[in-house]
């Protein structure tokens, strides 16, 4: 009798969890339905391709941020790190004295490495002494931006090898190749978070750091790892940016961190850590992209778009607050 109660209680909890996970997806579908009814241009292949192109960079940054936010931190520096990675990679790529066949892979390596190093610095400084990552990464936001501007003398870098820019323009059955890269990144992140010890510890630390420490695990190492992943994603986003636009600008990515954080939060990841998923982040990034695109199709100004995006962020957090209160009360 009592075990039956436990089981049905658990089933209800699982049902609720499923609904919670589906919630963002349903919101995205409803949004797309609304726009396709109100604008004839929305559901065209050209427009959908356009949306996917536009969300690719935000999605890439948001995947990395999901790790940091899950572990209970925040990374404000991803936009600036994107710029620094881009200009350093761009300098390698546009350097005429390196064989073009070597320059591209080398530049890709440099771009990812710069992101990784910046992320590890963020992680090491905040995790080692338990400093608030908000402040550390705010510092990195300024440092990386300043460094990118100083190195390039505030000038954008052009003239990459043709093959590299070509990759940015490939579209397969209406899906940009760069978006496919981002989608692969989402799948890898999903695998890491749900199937590895590293992922498990990210969630565990986000929920109860002290319990993890007393269980004999190095909280520092996993936090460092989460920030490193975030930096690496910023480096990858820098390469996507370069492939798409054909330039590496030191003022690239200004305020990109805000849309990326918004995507993570709308996707249902708790800002206090320990709860959420990268699949939610995928939907979150889609919602932001669809919203921006749809509202412009409806003829609303970009200012109104900003207001509505802001309202959606607030609504997502308020909804999440009441959902978790209800599930705790049950």
């Amino acid at each position: 009798m009592s075990t039956e109660g436990v089981i049905s209680g658990a089933a209800v909890a699982r049902g609720r969890l499923l609904l919670r996970k589906m919630g963002v997806g349903i919101a995205l579908l409803v949004l797309m339905l609304l726009f396709s009814v109100s604008s004839e241009h929305f559901l065209t292949q050209g427009n959908l391709t356009n949306i996917l192109t536009q969300i690719t960079i935000n999605l890439t940054l948001a995947v990395g941020l999901t790790f940091v936010i899950l572990v209970g931190g925040i990374d404000l520096s991803v936009g600036s790190v994107l710029a620094l990675s881009a200009v350093l990679a761009g300098m390698v790529m546009s350097n005429g004295s390196i064989d073009p066949n070597l320059a591209v892979p080398l530049a890709i390596g440099v771009g990812m490495l710069v992101g990784l190093v910046c992320g590890m610095l963020n992680g090491a400084l905040s995790a080692l002494w338990g400093l608030p990552s908000f402040i550390i990464t705010l510092g990195m936001l300024n440092i990386a931006r300043g460094a990118a501007l100083e190195i390039t003398d505030a000038k954008a870098i052009y003239s990459f090898p043709e093959g590299f820019a070509y990759v940015g323009s490939i579209i397969i059955f209406g899906v940009p190749l760069l978006f496919v890269f981002a989608l692969v990144l989402v799948m890898v992140a999903w695998f890491v978070l749900s199937q590895t010890v590293f992922g498990r510890m990210i969630y565990a630390i986000g929920n109860n750091e002290e319990a993890v420490r007393l269980a004999g695990h190095s909280v520092f190492r996993y936090k460092l790892g989460a920030f490193a992943v975030c930096g690496l994603c910023a480096g990858i986003a820098a390469l996507i940016y370069m492939a798409r636009l054909g330039i590496a600008s030191p003022i690239a990515g200004v305020a990109f961190e805000l849309d990326a954080i918004a995507a993570v939060i709308i996707g249902g990841t708790s800002l206090s850590g320990g709860k959420g998923s990268v699949i939610g982040t995928l939907f979150g990034a889609c919602i932001i992209g669809v919203l921006a695109n749809g509202l412009i199709l409806l003829g609303l100004s970009d200012f109104v778009r900003q207001i509505i995006t802001g309202l959606v962020i607030v609504m997502a957090v308020v909804l999440d607050h009441f959902r978790s209160r209800i599930s705790q009360g049950a």
Binding site: A13, Q195, A204, N207, N208, V212, L214
Partner: protein
């Protein structure tokens, strides 16, 4: 605002009752905290409330200060019904309380701390600093700190002065009765003497004080009357002149002492020494004197003492959870370095902490994930989780510890307290520890699960696991242990073998330090 009508009849100091509690009851989800306590505090008297851990003292304070509400019973304040539903109402009615954990603002000045509840104001919401200072100087005078600079930040003060300022703050608003919760726990003997003098002066001014304490020596030095709680009931209420400390201890423990050898342990502990700790100094005490002990294979050693005696600190320091000031740890005769929990685990230690929810479990995660929290090795390969192995491991733990659950995939928060505790034990037993440290292993656990946990621990000891257990429940220690050490004020005050166990003997050791200090100074 006030719960009391304005006072109409003047009360005569020494006779009128300020606070009258009768047949007060309070339960928390089936666990009875107060089972009908009564207490009368007379005007202008210092009334002591004593009792063992869990006797119901804190619950009474919480009801009086409006932090929680009672189930039934009456409380009269100056003869009028008194039922605060929140702390603000209690304060407005004149019930002021100074807690053991001081709630101060270290970077604000003394004057600001004293006035924090109600800043004197000028028009437009500006603070009237002159009035605030004047009020602070008056309040400081009332607690004998006439020469204290009210502009000093509280951070710069010693603990004793902080406490006096808390009292000053409490008295700066309308005060019918002042409740002091363990006021002397962190004071030196000279500071206690000073506090006693100030309390005596406040009493002469007609203030009534409820003095809640563990420290009998101070109760006898400071108070006029004493009420003893035991298991949520009033067992005695006497004038101090009519009782002795021994009698009070007897009341606290109860006449029907628990028989020591409730269940004789079948096997004598083995001979070889597994753990030897020498001169372990924790950071919790400014001048620790060092704790030394040893533990044999299959032995169950208890660590008794009052709250604040440093029991948890010893376990945490030994496990590497906190830094140590000094001390050596030997395992199987060889000295080992334990600087972190992972060092401790590598040397075969495990630590079931007191705070199950804060330190033991990851509540939103599943039962099997929690059971696998310490031991990833057997449920993962090359950094990948092996979820099948994890489930098998969880099922083994469930069967071995008879954890009552629906599915091991359910959130651990869905379990009862006893089963949650078994999950905490299970995650440690997965790494087969040789030395198991337990802090309050049956806190918040129902009677049935308690007995099961005792059985599990006995089984482990028979298999050769050495166990060091801290508990505030003396019967629990007397049931489980082969030997009990007693800590008093961060020092070992004695040790008893199983044949010498009695609650009286243990309590005497637990109180010993304080009484010796008292004798020295009087």
């Amino acid at each position: 605002m006030s719960l009391l009508a304005p006072q109409t009849q003047p009360h005569i100091a020494g006779h009128a009752q300020v606070l009258n509690v009768s047949d007060l009851r309070k339960s928390f989800g089936g666990i009875r905290a107060l089972g009908g306590v009564s207490l009368n505090v007379e005007a202008g008297k210092i009334h002591a409330l004593v009792g063992e851990n869990g006797a119901g003292k804190s619950t009474l304070i919480k009801i009086l200060t409006g932090a929680i509400t009672r189930d039934s019973g009456t409380i009269l304040l100056h003869g009028k019904p008194y039922l605060p539903s929140n702390p603000a109402q209690a304060k407005a009615a004149g019930v002021q309380c100074v807690y053991q954990e001081l709630n101060m603002f270290p970077d604000l000045s003394i004057a600001e701390n004293v006035n924090i509840e109600r800043f004197p104001r000028k028009p437009f919401g500006l603070v009237d600093f002159a009035a605030m200072r004047a009020q602070a100087i008056r309040a400081l005078g009332a607690v004998g700190l006439d020469d204290m600079d009210p502009d000093l930040p509280v951070r710069k003060l010693g603990i004793a002065h902080k406490q006096l300022i808390e009292i000053a703050r409490a008295l700066s608003t309308k005060s019918e009765i002042l409740i002091l919760d363990e006021p002397t726990a962190t004071l030196t003997d000279r500071e206690v003497q000073k506090l006693a003098e100030i309390l005596a002066r406040l009493r002469l001014q007609g203030l009534s004080i409820l003095f809640v304490s563990h420290h009998l020596e101070e109760v006898f030095r400071i108070c006029d009357q004493v009420t003893v709680f035991r298991n949520g009931q009033t067992v005695a209420s006497e004038a101090i002149a009519n009782v002795t400390p021994e009698l009070v201890v007897r009341h606290m423990v109860g006449r029907a002492l628990h028989p020591a050898a409730a269940a004789p342990r079948p096997k004598a502990p083995r001979k070889n020494e597994v753990l030897a700790v020498a001169d372990l100094k924790t950071t919790a005490h400014a001048k620790p004197s060092g704790v030394s002990f040893s533990l044999k294979a299959g032995e169950v050693l208890g660590l008794a003492g009052l709250v604040g005696a440093g029991r948890t600190e010893v376990l945490r320091a030994l496990f590497g959870a906190d830094r140590r000031r000094g001390g050596t740890i030997r395992i199987d005769g060889a000295e080992v370095r334990i600087d972190s929990p992972s060092d401790a685990i590598r040397h075969g230690l495990a630590f079931v902490t007191e705070d199950r929810k804060g330190e033991g479990l990851i509540l939103p995660m599943s039962i099997k994930e929690n059971l696998g929290l310490v031991d990833f090795v057997s449920a993962s390969r090359m950094g990948l989780l092996n979820k099948a192995a994890e489930s098998t491991q969880a099922d083994r733990s469930r069967d071995k510890l008879s954890i009552k659950l629906g599915s091991t995939s359910d959130a651990v928060s869905s379990l009862s307290g006893g089963n949650q505790q078994k999950v905490v034990m299970g995650k440690w037993l997965n790494v087969r520890p040789r030395i198991l440290l337990l802090d309050e292993p049956t806190r918040g656990v129902d009677v049935g699960a308690k007995a099961e946990i005792y059985e599990i621990l006995k089984g482990l000891a028979e298999e050769g696991t050495s166990i060091l257990v801290v508990s505030s429940e003396l019967p629990e220690l007397m049931t489980l242990c082969d030997r009990i050490m007693v800590l008093s004020n961060h020092q070992l005050s004695g040790e008893l073998n199983r044949d010498a166990f009695s609650e009286e003997a243990l309590l005497k050791l637990a109180y010993r330090q304080h009484q010796e200090v008292g004798v020295e100074t009087t």
